[in-house]
Symmetry: C2
Subunit: 194 residues, 2 copies
């Protein structure tokens, strides 16, 4: 079945958020990029830009979690999974001229102090990701607090890596983070199995 107008609008919005952020993405640009008109935009999203943004963020977050989930699920063990995630992020950045990074981060920082409704949306997304990322660490035998700590380290390092790599147009920081975070995970596992 063909992709509907509504889906195209959401998809275009998420893509524009990646490149230009929330404030930098105009409804005009969304209409143009999705081959929709203002009538369609406000027909599907009576709440305007804010409502559209909320849905675009949630959709993009689900898609990104799926991508990361495939990498993590396809690895034989947690350490390999973490290593592949950072290496994959580095390669993807290079392949897309440093455009394909976290679809939430830019908007999250923009709205954190200026738009309470969207701030909550980004908070829910990150919390969902953290719960999702705890799973492989729990499966590897770590207790809950420890699994959460490592999930936070994983996500924060990935986000920081996106920031440094995109600014420098250089994948090196992401590779370096892959090495240090892998070491941290190895040490955490060693502590539970002396």
């Amino acid at each position: 079945m063909a992709i509907g107008t509504r889906d195209r609008i959401v998809e275009t919005t998420a893509k524009l958020f990646l490149e230009r952020g929330y404030t930098g993405t105009g409804m005009k640009a969304v209409a143009l990029g999705s081959n929709a008109t203002f009538g369609s935009l406000y027909h599907y999203f009576p709440g305007g830009k804010e409502e559209l943004a909320a849905e675009a963020l949630r959709t993009a977050a689900d898609g990104y979690a799926s991508r990361v989930g495939e990498v993590l699920g396809g690895a034989p063990d947690v350490v390999t999974a973490v290593r592949l995630a950072f290496e994959g992020a580095a390669v993807t950045l290079q392949d897309t001229d440093y455009a394909d990074a976290c679809p939430i981060a830019t908007v999250a920082l923009e709205v954190a102090s200026s738009n309470e409704a969207l701030r909550q949306v980004t908070a829910e997304i990150f919390e969902g990701w953290l719960v999702f990322l705890e799973i492989p660490f729990l499966a590897a035998g770590l207790d809950q607090p420890r699994a959460r700590e490592l999930a936070i380290l994983f996500l924060a390092a990935l986000e920081g890596g996106f920031l440094l790599c995109r600014a420098a147009k250089d994948p090196a920081p992401m590779y370096a983070l892959g090495r240090t975070v892998v070491e941290a995970v190895e040490h955490a596992l060693a502590d539970t199995r002396p």
Copy 2:
């Protein structure tokens, strides 16, 4: 000596960048916040918003490096320094209602794919910070590549922590990162002194 109009403009811009980002900060708001007029704005910054942004970013970056430098320099050893840096960031976030975070990150993500001139400014700032952060690790006896890896981990984790804490309005991620990054530093030091 009194603070000049020019300084007020730059300071106001940096502050607004923290709360609203680059695209979200209008020249009108800068003029209002700094008690300056459009005439003064474009008198001091003929290059307009872009030129003003570049200077605001560089000034804010120097100020932030000084603040971090004081924390790092005042600690008896690297491990303590790292711990205090993350704990200090967490406390500052809480004290300022999650507004006082990295003065560069939001703008850096916004411009990474859409404004090459400002992207380069943010790249230079981050590179300067990394060189600055390598120092305590080198002083602790680590070799250059290793010191760089840990500087990247430190900065990326801090940036990722700002993101997660601001989105959630919760300092917990920053404290968790403090613990895991401290462990990573401890292990790195242990490897060089077996």
